[in-house]
């Protein structure tokens, strides 16, 4: 996961790029069999143990998902953590420091 968090005035701009296949479960392979769904269902962004943004996703979020958002109350050097959970129960958490 690539995370960038940058302080701009009193706002922290966060941009996240996650590596995930985001397979819908509606596509077929060359043999005509359905490719099983595999996609991120939940994301959580936390700043100093406070959840600043969370989301539920369906498979219509593009592969290798990107999100951008802004929150108040952050300072340079604070940590921003992003976590996701997919429909197979796989999970990944990464963090960055506000620049």
């Amino acid at each position: 996961m690539k995370i960038r968090a940058k302080l701009d005035g009193d706002l922290v701009q966060v941009k996240v790029l996650m590596a995930h296949i985001m397979e819908t479960g509606l596509r077929k392979n060359q043999q005509g069999d359905l490719i099983p769904a595999h996609y991120i269902q939940q994301i959580t962004a936390t700043h100093k143990d406070k959840v600043v943004l969370s989301a539920q996703w369906g498979p219509a979020i593009s592969a290798n998902p990107f999100i951008s958002f802004k929150f108040k109350g952050g300072a340079r050097g604070d940590r921003v953590k992003i976590a996701w959970v997919d429909n197979k129960g796989d999970t990944r958490t990464d963090e960055t420091v506000i620049a």
Partner: protein
């Protein structure tokens, strides 16, 4: 009258909490259990609004959908949604002509701007709805995004 289903839901909720408390499940896994399956499986706008509790949603000029009118690649359509409603709690991306309407539902914490940018898949040209919950009430705005096939730039 007995409600076995409700009872089951109640007891399974308790079981889930017990599993988390006992360390059997990690909190992340428990959280995935809250995923709103019924909302993501909705195939009609009325059904989706019913599940989300937004049946009386009103059109609003306080919501902006920022996206190109024409997207060459339906697999990656960047869409930014901004709500100027006070106390915006949720921003949902709804794509009318996708197999399942709901693409994403963001929960905006206090101190976070109601300004989200992400990329979605669109099966075909469709109206895209931004469904916003603010102060417990639902509002929406919509924008048509055309999907060109072949990637020749239409």
């Amino acid at each position: 009258m007995q409600h076995p289903r409700r009872q089951f839901l109640k007891s399974s909720g308790g079981l889930l909490a017990t599993l988390v408390a006992s360390g059997f499940l990690r909190p992340e896994e428990a959280m995935a259990g809250d995923w709103n399956k019924a909302a993501f499986e909705a195939k009609k706008m009325d059904d989706l609004l019913k599940v989300l509790g937004g049946a009386g949603a009103k059109p609003s000029s306080e919501i902006s959908i920022i996206a190109s009118d024409i997207a060459e690649n339906g697999a990656v359509v960047p869409i930014q949604i901004i709500s100027k409603h006070d106390n915006t709690q949720n921003i949902a991306y709804v794509i009318e002509k996708n197999p399942n309407l709901l693409a994403a539902n963001f929960t905006i914490a206090e101190g976070t701007l109601a300004d989200i940018d992400t990329r979605v898949k669109m099966a075909q040209t469709s109206d895209v709805y931004a469904l916003v919950k603010a102060n417990g009430k639902f509002y929406y705005a919509s924008k048509e995004i055309k999907i060109t096939l072949g990637g020749c730039g239409g």
